[in-house]
């Protein structure tokens, strides 16, 4: 929940990393919270039958983590305007994720200060689980 100003950031700057350890209980809790009870997320036998080795985390849980990376960095969560993610690989109980962001560009458009960020979520083996992009607005020190 740290505020940052448009003048303080530059392309190439890295956002504070968010780290998450995925647990079976968290996946089940997220199923309850999101309303997504796809059996591969809540039933071990279904996960094994699907060739996944057991239950896997929702891809949208990783999107929630990437959103959190941005909203933790921004002064106001509603300064996050857009997010787009692609789910590359499965996330399983026991995985340790590092969610990272880097500023790609900043620009002024129609009187608002925009920042575009590249996002990536990697597991403990350095494998990319999710990649994404986000666009946010930032306040200015000027006026």
């Amino acid at each position: 929940m740290n505020g940052i100003y448009y003048e303080d950031i530059n392309p190439g700057d890295e956002l504070p990393i968010v780290e998450k350890t995925i647990t079976r209980n968290q996946i089940l809790d997220y199923a309850d919270a999101s309303g997504d009870y796809n059996p591969i997320h809540v039933d071990e036998a279904s996960g094994k039958k699907a060739g996944l080795g057991g239950i896997i985390a929702h891809g949208l849980l990783s999107l929630a983590f990437m959103t959190q990376l941005m909203t933790d960095w921004l002064a106001d969560p509603m300064d996050l305007k857009k997010i787009k993610v692609r789910f590359l690989s499965m996330v399983k109980p026991g995985d340790e994720l590092r969610i990272k962001g880097k500023i790609k560009d900043k620009y002024i458009k129609e009187g608002l200060n925009y920042v575009d960020c590249e996002l990536i979520s990697e597991n403990q083996n350095g494998e990319r689980a999710t990649i994404g992009q986000a666009t946010a607005t930032l306040p200015s020190k000027i006026g």
């Binding site: 309850d32 997504d36 699907a50 959103t67 857009k82 997010i83 789910f87």
Partner: protein
């Protein structure tokens, strides 16, 4: 997948942003932003009260509604994957708000041996204002 459903509109799907569900969501995602659950903190903010976490669009935009899409597109559940997700956040959502989500199946196509379904949608609040726009890409292996 059934290509004949391209252009079909589905919905609305209703969801109420109950405070209990908000707490459940922020606990499951380990999001400690007080703006979502601390009334005193939120009252002092520009929002003058709690707001729903942007990521909770996962619940009201995708959550249950997506299963209707899977059924309409005749996607084999055993081979279906959520490939991409996009959101555009338009308006803050308050707790205890009735939301309505509307989908349109905009494209279904085959590429490199995989079937793709593209779904676009909006979620509106009780005032009829759009709070979120979204796009879902599903793949059938």
């Amino acid at each position: 997948m059934d290509k004949d459903v391209v252009g079909k509109e589905i919905g609305p799907f209703s969801y109420v942003t109950w405070e209990r569900k908000i707490r459940q969501f922020v606990e499951a995602t380990e999001d400690k932003n007080p703006l979502y659950v601390d009334e005193e903190f939120a009252r002092r903010s520009k929002h003058k009260g709690n707001i729903v976490p942007p990521a909770m669009a996962n619940a009201y935009f995708v959550g249950m509604p997506i299963w209707s899409v899977i059924e309409v597109c005749k996607i084999d559940r055993a081979r279906g994957l959520h490939a991409e997700q996009e959101y555009e956040f338009i308006k803050p959502v308050k707790p205890c708000t009735l939301l309505s989500t509307y989908y349109k199946i905009v494209d279904i196509y085959e590429k490199k041996g995989l079937n793709f379904a593209i779904i676009e949608g909006v979620t509106k609040d009780e005032e009829g204002d759009i709070v979120v726009k979204g796009k879902i890409t599903l793949i059938e292996r």
